[in-house]
Every structure is written in C-alpha cells, then in structure tokens.
C-alpha cells in the first residue's frame, strides 16, 4: 500500500534551495498535509514525490519502491492541480476517462471507472460539458474524479482549494478527506491555509525555507509547538520577551519587561537565558479592573473588534507590550476601549522558546 518515504531530499534552483535535506514518512491511508508560507518549498516537495521535478539529492520511495528514476506516469499517483489543469479541448467525460484510456484499460472498465468517479463527485449529469462551462468548484471536482479514475492509490493535491470561493472551499475540503478515506487512499495535500490543514489532516508537516520544522497531528502542533514559527503559524500567539530568573522543581519564572513576572511549566531553559513566552489569544483571560494573582498583568483595552463568533481585544499591558485576547462573543461580558483590565493565563498553557538568534520579527516572518 502507498506509504511515501523521503530520505534527505534536496532541490536547488540556482542559488535558491527550494527543498533542504528533507526526510519524511507519510503512512499508508493517511491524510497528510504540507503547510507553510508561499515559497517554503511545499509544492516543490509534492512535485518531487510526483516525479514532475527531479531532486538534486536524496531518495524518494513509494510503497517501498525507489522511484527517483521512474517517470510520473509509472508512479501510480493522482495529481490535482490548483488551477485544475482540465484539458480544455475535452469534455468532462473525456477528461475523466483519460487516465484509463492512456493506460489501455478495457473500454468497459474505463466507462465503469469514469461513471463511478463522476457519480462520487456528483457531476455525472454534466459529462458532456466542457471545462469552460463549469464553475470553479465543479472543475476541481472533475479534476479530482479524473485523478481518482486513473486508479491512483496515492493522491497528491497541490493547493486544490486555493482558487475557490471561501464557502465552496469549506465544503469541498471535507469532501476531499471523505473521498480519500472511503477509497482507502493515501493523500498528501499542500496548502498555505493552516485552518484547512487542521480541519482535514491526520498529520501535518510545517515547512519554512525548504525545511520541515515540525511534523505532528493537528492537536500536537497546536498544543505542543516545538518551534516558535510553528506556534505563530498554527493558530495565533502573543509573544512576550523576557529572561529566566528562577527555576525550581515545578516551574520556571520569567521576568518580562517592566519587572513583571510570569511562571511557566516549561523548564527546558537555563537561568539567565533570554526567552520568548508564547500564549495563545484564546487562552488569555481578561477581567475588568486590576486583580493581582499568578500570571496576572494589568493593562487597558486599546482596540475592540466584533468578529461574529468572537470578540477580539488588543490590550496594552502596563509594561507597554500589546497582547491580543479572543473571547467567545456570546459567553462573556463585553469590555470597552480604555477600560482597565487584568490579563491572566494558566501556567500550563504557555510555551517558552529560546530567543531567536536573528531576532523575533525575522524568525516569525512569512517571507
């Protein structure tokens, strides 16, 4: 069955290293996502797996078969492109049955496959239509049916929802996962949309500048980010700079700017080390007035935004730092701009990272 394994894969374009010594394993029947900002090398990595790009170094295995010298047509893959790549001179039916035809399957078998796949994507009634007569969502469903009808067991999806409207994107992303699971395929999905990846993936790899920073389940990446970039890219985080001033058996104490102190259960750092404390906006609690307590900092509301499901505050802390707090709109009392508040968070809900050598801003930058 299609397990995919990459060993020390590198791809360079001139001086630019698109993929930098990447090793990765995608399990059989797993829905796996590669995410990262634009230009991080995720599409190149997917195209290397497909055989559309040859790596400069490293090995690619599909079903334990070394596939570097094998052309794309013999890798047993299906590839779904962001811009669909439906053949404009063929109608839906001819597009979908193209794979079986070029593989010289019996015409009955081709027809059966084509019909099944078109029914699965709910487009059998449009089999005579040409791509130019279909909406974006329909075109992507045809592209998916075409890739599946070719008999692929490994489905590679390159930003498959990137060109669609938000609403259709949301609907189709669950369809993608359902098709992969129902047909017992392995899916590798490239996207820059972390919410999309979180919603449908079994596991996710976060990439930046050609490297994989962390691989894990959506929960692991959200709850236990191993890298400061991941903490920011998956979900959202507030970052507070400081120094470790005390370490004991249970927790570490960090001094923030303005002689403010917070505690964390993260004890991986040395005393005196410059660190960054990351706290998610949805973890921060906010109360009216100034109330002393563990991990409590005073401040005032500087901005208030109503976002429908949530309300979002920007709070200026007493040391001058600004944090974002997100609360469910219908569950809490709304606070006004200028109001004095206390912000707090539980010790177990923060992450502490070593302060990046090249500075926090550059470390978090998407480009």
């Amino acid at each position: 069955m299609p397990e995919v394994r990459l060993v020390n894969v590198t791809k360079k374009y001139g001086k630019i290293v698109a993929v930098d010594n990447v090793s990765l394993q995608v399990h059989d029947r797993e829905y796996f996502s590669l995410i990262g900002p634009s230009g991080c090398g995720k599409t190149t990595l997917l195209r290397i797996i497909a055989g559309l790009v040859q790596p400069d170094e490293g090995e690619v295995y599909i079903e334990n078969r070394f596939v570097n010298p094998i052309p794309p047509e013999d890798r047993g893959i299906g590839f779904v492109f962001q811009e669909y790549a439906l053949f404009p001179h063929m109608n839906v039916w001819d597009n979908v049955t193209y794979g079986p035809r070029v593989k010289a399957l019996e015409s009955k078998e081709s027809e059966k496959l084509g019909r099944e796949m078109l029914e699965m994507v709910r487009l059998f009634e449009r089999l005579d239509a040409y791509p130019s007569e279909l909406s974006g969502g329909m075109m992507q469903r045809v592209a998916l049916a075409r890739a599946l009808a070719a008999g692929a067991k490994l489905l590679l999806l390159d930003e498959p929802l990137g060109a669609l409207d938000a609403k259709i994107r949301q609907e189709l992303r669950y369809d993608l996962r359902r098709f992969v699971k129902d047909l017992e395929l392995t899916g590798i999905h490239v996207t820059h949309d972390q919410a999309e990846a979180m919603a449908i993936s079994d596991r996710i790899a976060v990439m930046r500048k050609g490297k994989i920073l962390q691989v894990g389940t959506p929960q692991e990446l959200y709850l236990k980010p191993q890298h400061i970039f991941v903490a920011n890219f998956i979900g959202e985080s507030n970052f507070l700079e400081g120094y470790i001033t005390k370490l004991d058996n249970n927790e570490s104490t960090i001094e923030l700017r303005g002689e403010l102190y917070v505690q964390s259960l993260d004890k991986r750092h040395k005393k005196g080390e410059k660190v960054v404390v990351a706290v998610r906006p949805e973890v921060l609690a906010v109360e009216k007035g100034e109330k002393r307590g563990k991990n409590s900092i005073f401040g005032h509301i500087e901005e208030f935004r109503f976002e429908g499901t949530n309300i979002r505050y920007e709070i200026r802390l007493e040391n001058g730092d600004v944090v974002v707090v997100v609360r469910p709109a219908l569950m809490v009392e709304w606070l006004n701009v200028g109001e004095k508040v206390t912000v707090s968070f539980p010790v177990e809900k923060s992450f502490v990272f070593t302060y990046p050598e090249r500075g926090l801003k550059r470390e978090l930058a998407l480009e």
Partner: protein
C-alpha cells in the same frame, strides 16, 4: 518644454470623443482606400480583358500549370515546414540545455535575410560549383521545381519555428504534467493534449508558411530556371508582353487571389473544427517512441535538417561576399564603378521605401490594431476587420501588384515612386496591424481602466500603459514591415520599372545586367549586412525604452 506641451495638448484632445472617432475613421479610411479596395477594383476595371486568354489555348495551358505549381509547392512546403519545424521548436523549448536557446536566434536568420539574397545563396549552395555540388563533381540540384521547394522550405521553415516556439513557451505545462500523472507516456501526452491545445498556433504557422511560399517572387525567379509558377509566369508575361498578355495577367492574378483567399478562409473556418486523432492510444508503442533513444534520434534529425537544409545554404552567400572583400571587388563597389552606381541607388531606394512604409503603416496601423483588439466596432465587425486585414498577407504579392498597378494607373498624376509606395504599404500593412492587435489583446484591460480611474486621459493611457507593454510587438511589427518591404520583388516588378535592390539583384543573377558571381555575392552580402545592422539598431532602440 515644447514636447511636454505637445503631449499635454494631445492628452486634452484625446478626451474628446470626436477626436477619437476622427482618428479611428482616418485609420479605417486608410485601410479601405489604400489597402483593400484598390486591388479589388483593379481586377474589376480590367475584367473584360480576361476574355483574351480563353481564346489562346497555349497561354491558358501555361497559366493553369503555373497556378497549379504555385499552390502544389506552397501546400507541400507548408506541410514539410510543420513536420520539420515542430520537432525543432520542441527541441528549442524543451531540450533542457541553455545552448539550445541560441538555436532560436539562428533559426531567425533566414527570416531576416532578404529573400533574393537567400535565393542566390541557395543557388550557389545547391547548384553552382562553389557549393555542395563540389563534393559530387556535378551540379547537385538544377534550377527548377526541386530547387524552388528547397528555397521555399528555407525561408518559410523559420516562420513555423518562430510561431511554435512562442506557442510552446506560452503553453501551460500543467496540462502535459496532468496527462503524465494520469499515466500517459510523454509522446501520448504531447499528441493527445499539447498538440490539440496548440492546434490554433499550428494552423496559424501553416497559413503563414503557405502565404510566404505562394507570394515569393524574386528569389524564386533566381532558382526556377525554365520552370514557371504563378508569380514567375506573371513576371515572364510582363517582360515578354506577348499578344493578349494583359488579359492573361488579370486572369492569373484573379485566380491566384481568389484561390489564396479561399484556402485561407477554409483553413480559418474548418481548422478549429478539425479533430485531432486523440481518442485512440497505443500505450506500448508510444512508450517506446518516447524513449530517450528515439527522442535523441528525432532531435538529431531536426538539427541535421536545420543546418543542412536551412542555415548553411542560407548563409552560403557569405563565402563569395568574403572573397569579394579580399580581391578588390569591394573597392570597386565603394567607388561606385560600373554596375555599382546603380546598385547603391537601388539600395537607397529600397531602404527609403521600406522606411516610408514602416512609418506610415505604424501611424495608420496602430488605431486599427486598437479597433480590432478592443472590439471597438462590436464583436462581429471587429472580427470581419480582423479577417480583412490579413488579405494582403495571403495574396501573392505579384498578383496584388498587378491589380494595384491597374487601379493606380488610372490616376496619371501619381508618380511612379508613389505607386511603389502604395504597393509596399498594401503588402506590409498586415504585419504591423496583426502584431500590435495581438499584443494589445494580451494587455489586460484592467490596466487601462486602472489608469483611467487614476486620472489618465486616453492618449496618456495609450502612451504610458499600452505602448510600454506592447513595445516589443511594435518593434517586431516595424521590423517585419521593413524587412518585408526591402525583400519585396514581385509587386515591385508588377507596378514599376524602378529598380529596387532585390529587382536589381534578380537582373544580375538572370544575366539581364552582366555581373560576376563575386559581384552578386557582394551585392547580396551588403544587403544582408545592412539588414542586420538596421535590426540591431532597432533592438537597441527597443532596449533603451522603458
């Protein structure tokens, strides 16, 4: 300051719709009064004379053979062009080596060389003792239909390569990649997907190659010997002035124009409906044919064809030109002794006519290109105009020249040089309009609209947005108009006794004026050299712009 105030004045003028209508009306009037209507009326005016040829069976038989030869050669050559040019374009764009890009430039050389120089070069290479014949001890190809085919292949092959290289570079490779990931072998993907999508470009390249072959006169006269195709028949008839020749001229011109237009319209109408054989797939055979061994063999044959049949024969004229430089012929040429005085005069005439045609067609063609590209007259009328501007391109130039000559000679006050300019304007007009219409069509209309919403007046928008974005097409159009005009022989012969450079060189080769092979070689060499210099200057000019 004066410049900026003129621009300000033009800007304010362009805001008035009446001024815009006036410009478009003038452009349309130019097209109808100078380009489209005169050749049609020319034939109509002498319609009655055609009866002469029906009573002269031998002349009629010669005429029909010549017409048949013209179209048979053009169709054959165009097919061969596509078959040979397509793998070459593939190699240039997909070969994967940087050095292959230089082939792209080399493939343009026969396109730039004036066709008479190309004709003499091929004659030397294939027929004269100095050429490849020296290897065999006998003349390898005698003047006649085979040499005409070799010549027409040499100058029309670059057209196909140029068009297909452009099409392949613009082509979205995702289609091909999608086909490969679906299990198609490279050849299957190319055949069933890429070629089908590139069908319009294939058809366009075929039409252009066909038009170039059916129209060429000067170089063909050099290599034809006693063989006659349509243009040579007209030229011979005009020189001999046999009884009833005028009717025969009108008849052959009329038939050449009608058949060319019919073929053009048929291909344009039926081409899009032509289904490529894409349903049937032979996976095993096509996989074998996609192997690197077969691909290398195909590439090798493509390169061999290009170098042996196109590039080396086209550049062979450099050899006598080089000898002429070393043995003193060049000194004679520079001093203008003997036949050289007339040569320099003809060269000045050719370049002057070329420059005037380029300037006027740029001025008159730009508004027409906007009308077509932006559908300013509505979709239907603009599409009709789009077809009509192509007519001078696909009609044999000597036939066009004959009808234009008949028409314009009714206006006795027009001097001979005026006739020559009118004819060159007609023949070269489509090159500017087509080039610019295609370029303007590619410019997203949002850019124009954004500039207008930012306060740009129509002339400012054209000057600051459209022109910079279409600069290369403008230069390409100007280059094509100029080189086509300098190369033109057939239409010049049809309307005037004035000797342009190609006409003079044809006379030298045919012995009308005695000239040695070194003199002819040098004459052709100078023509080629000047063409290269002018092109270089134009390219530099294009780079200096925005």
């Amino acid at each position: 300051m004066a410049g900026s105030s003129i621009i300000k004045f033009l800007d304010s003028l362009s805001s008035r719709s009446s001024v815009r209508y006036l410009i478009y009306s003038c452009s349309l009037a130019f097209f109808f009064a100078l380009i489209l209507v005169p050749p049609i009326l020319g034939i109509v005016l002498k319609w009655n004379t055609m009866a002469d040829i029906f009573g002269n069976s031998s002349l009629m038989s010669r005429a029909t053979s010549a017409i048949y030869a013209s179209f048979a050669i053009a169709l054959f050559v165009s097919f061969i062009d596509v078959i040979a040019g397509l793998p070459m374009a593939w190699l240039i764009t997909r070969g994967g080596f940087k050095w292959l890009r230089s082939l792209d430039t080399l493939a343009d050389i026969p396109f730039i060389i004036p066709t008479v120089a190309l004709g003499y070069s091929l004659l030397l290479f294939w027929n004269k003792p100095e050429g490849i014949s020296s290897l065999f001890g006998t003349s390898l190809v005698s003047p006649g239909w085979l040499l005409i085919i070799l010549l027409h292949f040499a100058f029309s092959y670059p057209v196909v390569v140029r068009v297909m290289v452009g099409a392949l570079l613009d082509y979205k490779r995702e289609y091909e990649e999608a086909a490969r990931t679906l299990g198609a072998a490279p050849l299957t993907a190319d055949r069933t997907v890429t070629l089908s999508i590139l069908k319009p470009s294939l058809i366009a390249s075929f039409i252009l190659a066909f038009a170039r072959s059916v129209s060429e006169t000067g170089a063909t006269m050099m290599v034809a010997g006693a063989f006659e195709n349509g243009p040579i028949f007209i030229s011979n008839l005009k020189t001999a002035q046999e009884p009833g020749y005028e009717g025969a001229l009108v008849f052959v011109s009329f038939i050449l124009i009608v058949i060319s237009c019919t073929i053009f319209v048929t291909i344009r109408l039926l081409g899009p409906r032509l289904k490529m054989p894409i349903k049937k797939v032979w996976p095993v055979a096509e996989r074998k044919l996609s192997s690197s061994g077969v691909t290398n063999l195909r590439n090798g044959i493509s390169l061999l064809v290009f170098f042996l049949l196109v590039l080396i024969p086209s550049l062979f004229v450099a050899l006598p030109a080089f000898y002429a430089v070393t043995n003193g012929t060049l000194n004679q040429a520079i001093t203008g002794a003997g036949i050289w005085q007339e040569y320099w005069q003809s060269l000045i005439l050719s370049y002057s006519i070329g420059a005037i045609a380029t300037l006027l067609n740029t001025i008159a063609g730009l508004p027409m290109a906007v009308l077509i590209a932006r559908r300013r007259l509505g979709t239907t009328l603009s599409s009709v105009l789009d077809v009509l501007v192509n007519i001078p391109l696909i009609v044999p130039s000597i036939a066009l020249g004959i009808s234009l000559s008949i028409f314009w000679k009714n206006f006795a006050f027009i001097p001979e040089i005026g006739l020559l300019i009118f004819v060159h304007l007609s023949i070269t007009y489509p090159y500017m309009v087509r080039s610019m219409a295609a370029a303007i069509e590619r410019v997203n209309i949002n850019y124009e609209e954004a500039a207008r919403t930012l306060g740009g007046r129509p002339f400012t928008v054209f000057r600051t947005i459209i022109l910079p974005l279409t600069k290369y097409s403008l230069i390409a159009g100007a280059v094509m108009v100029f080189t086509r005009s300098v190369s033109e022989t057939g239409a010049t012969l049809a309307v005037t006794e004035l000797k342009t450079a190609p006409v003079l060189l044809v006379n030298w080769v045919k012995g009308v004026v005695p000239a040695t092979s070194l003199e002819i070689g040098l004459g052709c060499g100078i023509l080629v050299l000047f063409s290269f210099i002018i092109l270089l200057v134009l390219r530099l000019f294009a780079k200096r712009g925005y």
